[in-house]
């Protein structure tokens, strides 16, 4: 259950580090602009990842697969098709 939260937390922490901590290390004559750029990058990239994550978190539809695609998935992704499958409703 906790495992579910690991990826989002890790990614958020990474972008937070880039966006909040890294600007303090900016040096040089263009310090202000560099800080601005780093913060903007962190915010936009993190938000972009977040939207993708949220949109898939509670999907309202599932993928529609053709027979061919199902068989390829079975072969390549180890998603074996058995005579009877254990399905949780």
């Amino acid at each position: 259950m906790v495992d579910a939260y690991v990826p989002p937390v890790v990614i958020t922490v990474i972008w937070a580090f880039i966006g909040i901590i890294c600007p303090f290390f900016a040096r040089g004559p263009n310090r202000g602009v560099t800080q601005c750029c780093i913060m903007l990058t962190a915010v936009t990239c993190w938000l972009f990842w977040l939207c993708c994550y949220l949109t898939q978190m509670n999907p309202l539809i599932g993928p529609k697969l053709s027979m061919n695609e199902i068989m390829i998935m079975a072969r390549e992704w180890g998603n074996e098709i058995k005579d009877t499958m254990d399905v949780e409703a």
Binding site: C37, T44, I70, D83, V87
Partner: protein, 859 residues
């Protein structure tokens, strides 16, 4: 804050320079490139300015240098370009330079003239040589049958010649002249057959023949032979094909006629001796002379080459020096001479931060010129609008250029450029998102950046390359961000990466799979793991080609609106910074606050609805928060604005997503509606009131003013009221402007929000194009097997690669670039940017030399 956030503070300064030191000081300032001079003599003719003679001399020098350059280029000698810029020489050195150029030019002209004369001589001799050779043939052919004796060749010719010269044998003449000649010949008449030999260009030959035939009524006889090798025309060095001709005629009248015709056709006649021995002698003499001439010609060319090579070493240097001198004198022409005639006065715009540097430069200049009086830099107070100066480096220059292309920022307003450094490539990447194409773009940008110095040194005129090279940092950033968005969209050349394993699994058994063409996985069952793919789009969506677009459309449309609204709110907040800086309290209260409220309350609420819908509705939830009951956000929004009662999205579903939604929505719409009259009327009414107060203070006692005040407070300000300041706007103007501004903002907020949907549209188009290239091109190649398949695949891959780079990277890249630019210029900047400034154009040698010496005369 870094200086790029706002344009620099500028000061108008007066510069007092001693006349002797003026040249050196201006030279130092030109090297510095931080000062923009104003023209203090705008109504003075260019020919009446003080330093017009010096400028003329510089022009002369430049002309001489250009002549030298042309000659050097003609000979193909490489010109040394060290890339370093020599300092502007002192005025006294100018005379030395002038002398050097004069000498070089004269020498070169002399050499050229000599060479031309020699070449003309050479041409004549060559033509003569050809004539002597060819006429041999003519005379040989003329009498083939008559003398069959076995005497020597030469004696044959000799005798034939005697016959011709003496005109004794009528038979020979019969051979020469043909039938008509025989008839025409009276026996005993003294027929003296003369001839002229010459050379004419081949093209003119047929017309020449015709003219001869017509003019001389067929009484002349022309023989011609082509000269195989082309001859060089001395004036322009062209290779011309010519023919040798010889004309036989009798009588003096025909001779004059023939000569005139030859003159008209510009055929050169040569004295050709009749006797073969003479001809041979002449031929040998001609050969010797040709050889001598060749030697002399060679030596002349060598000399010329030496002169040019010596000049080529310094040519670029000289060009730079002369241009700098000219630029300095042009600038000195802008100055005013003060009353005492000893001092030059200049007015210039100077960035405040650089005043120290400029003082140092001036001091250096005065020291160099050896003058004792230090220059004075005085700051002046002015109400004029200063130029906008943004200090950029090679990285930020391109982004600043993007902004300036729309309009240079007004003085000291917020500069959108530093934010554009990131938002521009990011919005581009949202539309371009493909790991593979992004990598291509990033690598291209990286290559240009690594090879910067080398590529910049090759100054080409190719506009397209210059544009690409100028934007190398932009291209690199766009590529890098596209790689990131490509990872999130999980799209590399239209395929997906499966790094973490798909979070969707198949749960149908064999018989179901066999018996159905299509099966859909359900998020309510264990098909879906329950947690999303950790980074980016799940790879299964690329496999599910049937309804991938349905899912991705919903996703991409939402992110387009989310980023659009956030971008616009960012723009409105920038206007807050502008208002606080310019102490525009009215705008702050009656423009910024209602604008922000309007945007947030309607469109940020829309964004919040999206996040709420993502969070609350899931297939695995209990009723009524299942996926069947998820409402359409667009319909919700429309119903909200129209105050309509929404319908439930499904049977027995909740109408609203969260408790109190309808209440909040009504409140929000009312707030938004209330903002509109504030935007429309708030500021103008306040201005009107302020003016009334000002008028009352001006005319406190007169009763008429009360009536005026009463009249004004009643009227809608349609007459603007008397006693206004002469340069302020009329009240009606202010109301109209505010009305336009409000309508623009309110309607714009809706249309701009929808305009951001182009982020979705272009990314969909890009993904589909990539997929078409895969399924129609590359997969065909990969399907074949065996050796033949390998060859086929190579060809198909070449085709696919060309199309990928040409269509997807170049065309789509340009398209996305353009749309991103539009989003920045219109949707983002219309919220705060004025753009009414003019750019700071400092007097800088670097820019002048880069532009090839095109110096502006007036500022």
């Amino acid at each position: 804050m870094g200086s790029l956030f706002r344009s620099e503070e500028m000061a108008l300064c007066q510069l007092f320079l001693q006349s002797e030191a003026a040249y050196a000081c201006v030279s130092e300032l030109g090297e510095l490139g931080l000062v923009q001079f104003r023209d203090l003599n705008p109504d003075v003719n260019a020919f009446q300015r003080k330093f017009v003679n010096e400028v003329r001399r510089c022009d002369e020098m430049e002309r001489k240098l250009r002549y030298l350059e042309k000659e050097i280029k003609k000979d193909g000698i490489p010109m040394l370009d060290t890339g370093e810029s020599p300092e502007a020489p002192q005025p006294r050195e100018m005379i030395d330079l002038e002398a050097t150029f004069e000498k070089l030019e004269n020498e070169l002209r002399e050499v050229n003239q000599n060479a031309e004369a020699l070449k003309r001589n050479f041409l004549e001799l060559t033509e003569l040589k050809h004539i002597l050779r060819k006429t041999q043939v003519f005379f040989d052919e003329s009498v083939p049958m008559v003398y069959k004796s076995t005497s020597t060749y030469s004696s044959n010719k000799y005798r034939r010649y005697l016959q011709m010269a003496d005109n004794q044998n009528e038979d020979e003449q019969a051979q020469l002249l043909g039938e008509e000649g025989v008839r025409a010949n009276q026996p005993g008449q003294n027929l003296k057959l003369g001839f002229v030999a010459g050379v004419i260009s081949r093209e003119k030959l047929p017309a020449f023949e015709r003219m001869l035939w017509r003019a001389c009524r067929g009484n002349v006889f022309l023989r011609q032979a082509m000269i195989e090798s082309p001859l060089e025309d001395p004036t322009n060095g062209d290779q011309v094909y010519k023919s040798v001709f010889i004309i036989f005629f009798q009588g003096d009248q025909l001779k004059t006629r023939v000569k005139k015709i030859c003159e008209g056709f510009r055929a050169t006649l040569y004295p050709c001796p009749e006797a073969p021995a003479d001809r041979r002698e002449m031929a040998m003499g001609v050969m010797t002379r040709i050889e001598d001439l060749n030697t002399v010609l060679g030596q002349t060319q060598d000399h010329r080459h030496r002169v040019l090579v010596a000049a080529a070493k310094n040519l670029k240097n000289w060009f730079v020096k002369v241009r700098k001198i000219k630029a300095i004198y042009h600038t000195l022409n802008l100055f005013n001479l003060d009353v005492t005639q000893k001092c030059l006065i200049a007015e210039c715009w100077v960035p405040l931060l650089d005043i120290e540097t400029i003082q140092l430069a001036l001091r250096r200049g005065t020291e160099r010129s050896g003058s004792s009086v230090p220059p004075i830099l005085n700051r002046m107070q002015t109400f004029e609008n200063p130029p906008t100066y943004n200090r950029t480096n090679k990285f930020t220059k391109a982004f600043q250029a993007l902004i300036d292309a729309y309009g240079v920022a007004s003085y000291r307003e917020m500069n959108p450029a530093p934010y554009t450094i990131i938002t521009f490539p990011f919005l581009f990447a949202v539309m371009f998102g493909d790991l593979g194409h992004g990598a291509i773009m990033a690598l291209f940008g990286l290559w240009m950046i690594r090879k910067e110095k080398g590529l910049a040194a090759q100054k080409t005129d190719n506009e397209i390359w210059n544009i690409f090279f100028g934007g190398r940092y932009i291209i690199f950033l766009m590529g890098v961000f596209s790689m990131y968005t490509g990872l999130i969209y999980n799209d590399i050349f239209s395929k997906s990466l499966n790094i973490f394993g798909s979070h969707w699994h198949l749960s149908y058994n064999k018989s179901t799979v066999w018996n159905n063409n299509y099966l859909q996985l359900s998020p309510a069952t264990s098909d879906y793991e329950g947690t999303p793919y950790p980074f980016g789009m799940d790879p299964i969506w690329q496999v599910a080609s049937s309804n991938k677009i349905v899912f991705q459309n919903a996703y991409k449309m939402k992110i387009s609106i989310i980023f659009g609204v956030l971008h616009m709110i960012f723009g409105v907040i920038m206007s807050w910074h502008n208002h606080t800086y310019f102490r525009n309290r009215l705008s702050l209260l009656y423009e910024f606050i209602p604008q922000l409220l309007f945007l947030v309350v309607l469109f940020f609420y829309l964004v919040l609805l999206m996040f709420i819908k993502w969070n609350r509705y899931a297939a695995t939830n209990a009723f009524p928060m299942t996926e069947a009951c998820a409402p359409s956000i667009l319909i919700t929004f429309i119903d909200m604005v129209l105050f309509k009662n929404s319908k439930a999205p499904g049977k027995d579903c909740n109408i609203y997503m969260f408790a109190g939604q309808s209440f909040f929505q009504t409140i929000f719409v009312l707030i938004a509606l209330a903002c509109i009259p504030v935007m429309l009327l708030g500021k103008p009414i306040k201005i009107m009131q302020a003016r009334k107060l000002a008028n009352e203070e001006v005319q406190p006692i007169t009763g008429a003013s009360d009536a005026e005040v009463g009249g004004m407070s009643n009227g809608g300000g349609s007459h603007g009221g008397g006693g206004e300041h002469h340069d302020e706007e009329e009240m009606s103007e202010i109301f109209i402007h505010q009305g336009i501004h409000t309508i623009e903002y309110v309607l714009g907020s809706v249309s701009h929000t929808a305009s951001y949907l182009r982020l979705w549209a272009l990314s969909l188009a890009h993904a589909q194009l990539a997929e078409v290239l895969w399924s129609m091109v590359l997969s065909l190649g990969l399907n074949k097997e065996g050796w033949l398949g390998g060859i086929f695949l190579t060809v198909v891959f070449a085709f696919w690669a060309v199309l990928t780079v040409g269509i997807l990277v170049l065309m789509e890249g340009l398209s996305a670039f353009l749309h991103t630019l539009r989003l920045h210029w219109v949707e983002f900047q219309s919220k705060f940017y004025m753009g009414h400034g003019y750019a700071f154009q400092p007097f800088s040698f670097d820019t002048i030399i880069e532009n090839g010496g095109a110096v502006t005369e007036t500022e």
